[in-house]
């Protein structure tokens, strides 16, 4: 019988039945640690930008943590046959597909090794040494097999490149384009050439960098299906079809690009239809500009302009409103005094009281508005994000419980420290959580999750509820005076927005019936640099 590659590798590292038995026995004591290890593993990934970039969202990360737990169980399963080998290669291919750089596979495996050996040291007693040897062997095998997938991928890339070059030479137009390849690659715009069937035939370097795909990945693949995000696909499919059919020859189109890892970016395409050619010639050029960052920046700038104008207005308005309120309040005090003496009727006194209360309410609105429009400067200090969350829950928990609402914190085990104005951030958290409570209260039940995650450069905070959702997903909730509550001033979220952006962060909301999620990010920043001004 021919020795398989797996058997050959096993023989090489001297992996035998004793090792298998040792691992299986170890599993019983190691299992309670799996969840913790999986969690620590992904916490570490969050600190590395290129590794983190392959993730598309928190749901995926949670799925992965479960996969890791299963994987640890597999590694300690005691059975290492061909099916096991095939499964490992499959896992390897998943990582190639998501574009995880190979070097992270090594470091990640080293991390798993340290964690598992640590458990062996503490829990395996006399067998510790045997278990550690077996672990070293099986994890080396695991790594070797996963890297096999990367090797296969390289071979596949090389094959496709050959095919690509052979095809290129067959076409005059493409040959000319090859001559211009350097120029195309120097362009900061995405440049994509498309054939009469809508397949990609040209894909410059900017396109590769921005989408995360290599030329070999996209060559011959359909442009619309591969690169246009779901939300924009029907529209773009129709436009590209018209262009290919020749009914349109020029077109500018704002669209959503889907990257290899599933992220979405704003792109402004300009399409140009050229003369007809052969079935593999390029007949349509798509020239795209990635406007994601400029979009965000201009939204931010727009918001700042609005705020500056508001600040000026606010100061004047506050003055104009408080003056007449002052007169009114004094008159009410006078009226009450006169009533008490001459006409001590409870109804009249109460009426005067109502007027007084309404005046106070107006005065409070003016103060809140000034807070929003002319906020005081940030006083930055070291802030532990988890502590902020704990405090928010302490303050809001009892009220929520009365309304039948459960609030839970989902925060990372490691302390997250940022430099920020803790008081103002607490105001933000309280405000958003209170909004969630208000949204759920009429239903008499519900659940709010306050989630904190570390990303390479930011802390991401999400406040999610399972309430009815916003009246419309595009409701301008962060605009001043937008309110869905009968007694709201409409300034709470506007102040929230202001505080977060003053910290250099971003704010967003997603809402559909059954799930509303406010998300804000705060830059982690450089602690010592940010605090320098403080000691001076």
């Amino acid at each position: 019988m021919v020795e398989t590659r797996f058997d050959e590798l096993k023989r090489y590292v001297r992996f035998g039945a004793d090792d298998a038995r040792a691992l299986l026995a170890f599993r019983a004591v190691a299992e309670p640690h799996f969840v913790r290890i999986a969690r620590e593993f992904y916490e570490r990934i969050r600190e590395h930008e290129e590794a983190h970039a392959v993730f598309t969202g928190e749901e995926q990360i949670e799925r992965l943590q479960r996969s890791m737990v299963r994987w640890m169980g597999r590694v300690l399963s005691g059975t290492y046959d061909e099916a096991y080998f095939e499964e490992t290669r499959k896992i390897g291919r998943v990582h190639v597909r998501v574009g995880l750089p190979q070097r992270y596979m090594f470091t990640a495996m080293a991390l798993m090794r340290v964690s598992l050996e640590d458990v062996a040291e503490k829990e395996a007693g006399a067998a510790a040494k045997v278990v550690r040897t077996a672990l070293t062997r099986i994890l080396d095998l695991e790594l070797a097999m996963m890297l096999e997938s990367y090797r296969e991928d390289l071979a596949e890339q090389a094959r496709r490149r050959d095919e690509f070059e052979a095809q290129s030479l067959r076409s005059d137009l493409a040959r000319t384009l090859l001559l211009h390849e350097a120029a195309l690659d120097a362009s900061p715009s995405l440049i994509v050439g498309i054939d009469p069937r809508g397949m990609i035939r040209l894909f410059n370097r900017a396109a590769q960098t921005i989408t995360g795909y290599a030329l070999e990945d996209v060559f011959g693949a359909p442009f619309v299906e591969l690169l246009v995000a779901d939300a924009a696909r029907p529209k773009d499919a129709a436009l590209v079809a018209s262009l290919l059919a020749g009914t349109l020859t020029q077109l500018a189109d704002e669209s959503l690009l889907k990257t290899r890892s599933g992220k979405v970016r704003d792109v402004r395409w300009s399409f140009t239809r050229t003369d007809d050619g052969g079935p593999e010639d390029i007949v349509l050029f798509a020239n795209g500009e990635d406007v994601t960052d400029t979009r965000a920046a201009s939204r931010q700038a727009h918001q700042h302009e609005k705020l500056a104008a508001l600040g000026t207005l606010a100061a004047g308005l506050a003055h104009e409103i408080r003056n007449p309120l002052n007169g009114a309040q004094l008159h009410v005090a006078f009226l009450r005094r006169a009533l008490e003496k001459k006409l001590p009727e409870p109804e009249l006194l109460e009426a005067a009281g109502v007027v007084g209360d309404e005046i106070k309410r107006l005065a409070r609105l003016v103060s809140e508005f000034l807070d929003f429009a002319r906020p005081s400067a940030l006083t930055n200090k070291r802030v532990v994000v988890q502590a902020l969350v704990t405090r928010t829950l302490e303050l809001t928990g009892p009220l929520a419980a009365q309304a039948g609402i459960v609030i839970v914190a989902d925060v990372p085990p490691q302390e997250l420290v940022i430099v920020a104005d803790g008081g103002k951030l607490e105001q933000v958290l309280l405000n958003v959580v209170q909004n969630a409570i208000d949204a759920l209260s009429p239903g008499g039940s519900g659940r709010i999750v306050v989630r904190v995650r570390r990303h390479p450069r930011d802390v991401v905070v999400e406040i999610e509820d399972d309430g009815p959702g916003l009246p419309s997903p595009n409701a301008p909730v962060f605009d001043a005076f937008f309110s869905t509550k009968p007694t709201g001033t409409g300034l709470g979220l506007a102040i929230t927005h202001r505080i977060v952006t003053d910290h250099g962060g971003t704010v967003g909301v997603e809402s559909r019936p059954g799930r509303t999620c406010f998300r804000f990010t705060l830059p982690i920043g450089n602690e010592s640099a940010a605090l320098e001004g403080e000691s001076a």
Binding site: A315, A318, H319, R322, N326, G327, A328, L330, A333, S367
Partner: protein, 131 residues
Amino acid sequence: MDAKPTHRPLVLVVDADARSASLLARLLYTDGYDTEVTTDGAAAVARLTRNPVPDAIVTDFHLAHADGLAVARYARSRGPLMLVFVVTGHPNALSSAAGPLDEPLHVLTKPLDYPDLLARLVAALGAPSRA
């Protein structure tokens, strides 16, 4: 007859809005204070050159000819312990205009909370005997 001498502290009320000023003066009067009213800064300063020096001043910040801070400063030169309340619709602008020498400065935000003002007067000057 009561043997205690009547104790009626004097409060100067300065406000460009004559109606508010006289109403405040009336309220204070019923609560046991003697009052005088002026409606611009210069007139207030002029009043302060004369005796008797008031025990307290309640002045608006925005005034013609001399603002509330100027009135407060002049009042201090007449009586360093004089109680001065500056009333404003824009407390931030006032605190940035005031300097350390203006302390202690009592800033009240409009709309004026009359019971609160009264409590502070009583705390500082003692309870007056009613008219």
